[in-house]
């Protein structure tokens, strides 16, 4: 299914482009719970002139779960993906924050001379692969902000989302530990992109406060509390909806919003959408293709006026 998507993207871009711009590492969520993130990312980036080619036969990066299970394994598994990317000879694009932080973790090790690095290389050798040093890894949010740029986005906007109040929620693992983003606590890339498509970005102090991520499974009670606070601030700031860039954040805030309401006696009705869905919609792609229907809390009513 992903193959068709990239072919579409290639057609979008036009003839003459032999190599795609990035190898795309979707990660497990983008093919299941976050399908709309996958679709909206690939399609909106195609409109903006960036082609993504899904990494062939990629494996799970392990996220934070494998780092908790076994150290060497948590480096070796993502390393396979990096090795295949290096072989392909393209930089890697990642959309999921968790994959981003996990792949970068291995990358950082490969950039050093630490003895552990040779251990990782040895495990790869056992499967006939090699990784020579680090690979270029970019988050799709950063690619859109930096490589495409706000001017080009503004040019291509077909529907300016004037009056749509959005709370930009980055989540924690996109900016921490420090990578290419403007600030590990207060990045502004998503804010700027949302403004460029006409939306009104509301103040959101908790923009990088953790949603609990995978801990929702093992520590549900406390993580629900964390998410309630995130929803509360968005509500108080008058946001119509929350824009995210991570499948975990989206699931926790959206799928569990009902549970939060019943647990805390609140009445949140805040749609939680991927920023690429809004971006794609603003660029003229249709509501259905952007997967707005897949959210638990429907976003439809906020988008009616821009149709």
């Amino acid at each position: 299914m992903s193959e068709t998507k990239t072919k579409d993207a290639a057609r979008h871009k036009g003839a003459g482009e032999a190599k795609p711009d990035f190898v795309f590492f979707p990660g497990c969520s983008l093919h299941s719970t976050a399908r709309e993130y996958h679709d909206s990312t690939v399609q909106s980036m195609a409109v903006l002139g960036i082609t993504l080619e899904e990494l062939d036969d990629w494996n799970c990066c392990g996220a934070t779960a494998l780092s908790s299970a076994d150290s060497l394994l948590s480096y070796a598994l993502p390393a396979r993906n990096l090795a295949m990317t290096q072989e392909r000879g393209l930089p890697m694009a990642v959309a999921c924050n968790s994959c981003f932080v996990t792949l970068n973790r291995v990358n950082a090790l490969m950039a050093t001379d630490a003895p552990y690095r040779s251990k990782v290389e040895e495990t790869l050798k056992a499967i006939g692969r090699r990784l020579d040093g680090p690979v270029e890894i970019r988050h799709t949010l950063h690619i859109i902000y930096h490589d495409v740029g706000l001017d080009r986005i503004r040019e291509k906007v077909k529907r300016r989302l004037e009056g749509l109040k959005v709370a930009p929620y980055y989540g924690c693992q996109i900016a921490r530990p420090r990578h290419e983003f403007s600030d590990p606590e207060f990045p502004t890339e998503m804010d700027d992109i949302l403004e460029a498509i006409g939306a009104e970005v509301v103040r959101y102090d908790r923009k990088t406060k953790c949603c609990g991520g995978a801990l929702m499974t093992t520590k549900e009670d406390v993580v629900l509390e964390l998410n309630e606070q995130l929803l509360r601030e968005a509500q108080v700031r008058g946001a119509d909806l929350i824009a995210v860039c991570c499948p975990m954040c989206q699931m926790n805030l959206d799928a569990y919003q009902g549970k939060i309401n019943s647990r805390f006696g609140t009445d949140y009705q805040l749609p939680v959408v991927y920023f690429t869905q809004l971006l794609g919609f603003a660029l003229g792609l249709d509501e259905k293709a952007m997967g707005f229907g897949r959210g638990f809390v429907p976003a439809g009513k906020h988008l009616k006026k821009y149709a």
Partner: protein, 651 residues
Amino acid sequence: MPGPKIGVYVCHCGSNIAGKVDMDALREFAAELPDVVVSRDYKYMCSDPGQDLIKADIKEKGLERVVVASCSPRMHEPTFKRACQDAGLNPYLMEMANIREQCSWVTEDAEAATQKAKALVHSAVNKARHLEPLEDKTVPVDPKTLIVGGGIAGIEAALKIAEAGKEVYLVEREPSIGGNMAKLDKTFPTLDCAACILTPKMVSVAQHPNITLLTYSEVEKVEGYIGNFEVTIRKRARSIDEKLCNGCGTCQEKCPIKVPNEFEEGLGMRKAIYTPFPQAVPNKPVIDRENCTYYKTGKCKICERVCPPKAIRFDQEDEIITEKFGAIIVATGYQLFDPSVGPQWGYGRYDNVIHGLQFERLSNASGPTGGKILLKDGSEPEAVAILHCVGSRDTNYAEYCSRICCMTSVKFAHLVREKTNAKVYDLYMDMRTFGKQYEEFYNRVVAERDIYFIRGKGAEVMQDPETGKLLVRVEDTLLGVFREIPVDMVILNAAICPRPDSQEVAQKFGIQRSADGFFLEYHLKLEPMKTANDGVFIAGTCQAPKDIPDTVGQGAGAAAEALKVVFAGKVTVTPTTAEVSGTLCSGCRICIPLCPYNAITFDEAKGVAQVNEALCKGCGTCAASCPSGALRAKHFDNRQLYAQIEGVCAE
């Protein structure tokens, strides 16, 4: 033909050398070298009896060269030079072989050490053979001292030198002297009002006949060397005739333009024509040409109209002053860390998150709130948090400890309680109250009502979206619990940092900076006011964070250093400099840009290079570069160096 008579003296240095190097073997080896007429060894050559051995031989045996095989010249070269001089031998006819730091101290192998010692002695004897007598030169010293920076360090130094009867020029960049201390409210541990103790000194500076005060001025260029610095100073145009102006303040009252007052740390405004604070010295205003309507559009001129003595001079130009000085003291002070680089503290994002100097302005009776502690909306806070270590002791910002913030925090806690009913939370990692009366001050404040000291570093400030309260998050580490404390005002005790132009300033005065960015002292423990550039001294917070007592101490110390130069009246110039042979020099000028000390100039008339012996440090770069061999590094010329190499290679 026999060479000059050489005496060789081998030192045991207790067991430091004798414990590894075979003294007898070395002494006998030296005795066999050509031209060596006497070879001795002794337990401590640097001692009086040791030196007497050398002196006696010079007199009785008519020695013409002396070689001392002992420690590093950095230890005892002056000792042995003096010994030779006392005995009537030119001190530059003495050569040392370092058989300690470079020999006995760096190996466990006694045989290897002895072998190397022989090579080193052979080398030294070879060089000694070719040494020439040289004479130390003296140059006169200009008796004036230049002090750059009119804060408490500069003021202190200026007064000490002036009161010793010597002339001082005090150059200050701002329109008034006083520096950062003038911004403070009460000072610890005595709670003296800063202005009360500072302004009398400021006035003394202005009135002292030996002090020339140049405010609103900057040093542009420094040339020359110790005793003879040539400095260019730009006295910026105040746009006021200082002789006519009587400081009445009418111009400031009537000026229609308001801009943020730098002195008020962004909390208050000033006019385009202004004195930065009421006790300014000199109490003459300055027109800020960037913001004054007249300079921008040609209109207004209200100040000119209302000025009673008609002192406004719009056309006034900067004045360039060049002067000679014997010594320079750099006392340019500090800048506060800007907490907005760390969004976790909320500075710049939330109202009522302020840094230390801003609190001083709030608390100061002549500040923007008349001395009341008020929130931005004019109300009084009910709870205040004070955070230590903002920007210091943190690998993310600066690793060093800013030294004064703990005392400042305790002081702030006390002042908040004195002026408001607010609860105070002081969040600290450590309580560094080290100075005289400091611990006693802390104990006083700790016992006060409604001040809560919590041992934990304040990690972040968030705002409650519903109540608007500032939530400070910290771990109470002594209890081991997380705490979130709602307050109305957060005071960040931001670190003392080097000023943003410190690299430029360092280069201008020929001084270095240490890894933390502050100016580098000659020796951290023993010579904190000297720098590697002879004649240039540093004092105060530009060297490292410190409190007022230490700053004053350093100011006085730097004054003593400067007076040392000035009272000596002359400065010795070592003769181991480069020398140009006029006949050999072809005028190619390769050497001139290579000299790191700008000591070589070109004599157009004669068409040859010229070395300024006072500036020259004898590094030898020019001599190595000269294609004609016209430049010779005295005491290290080619013949001497080749002889040394031969000596080493012979063994």
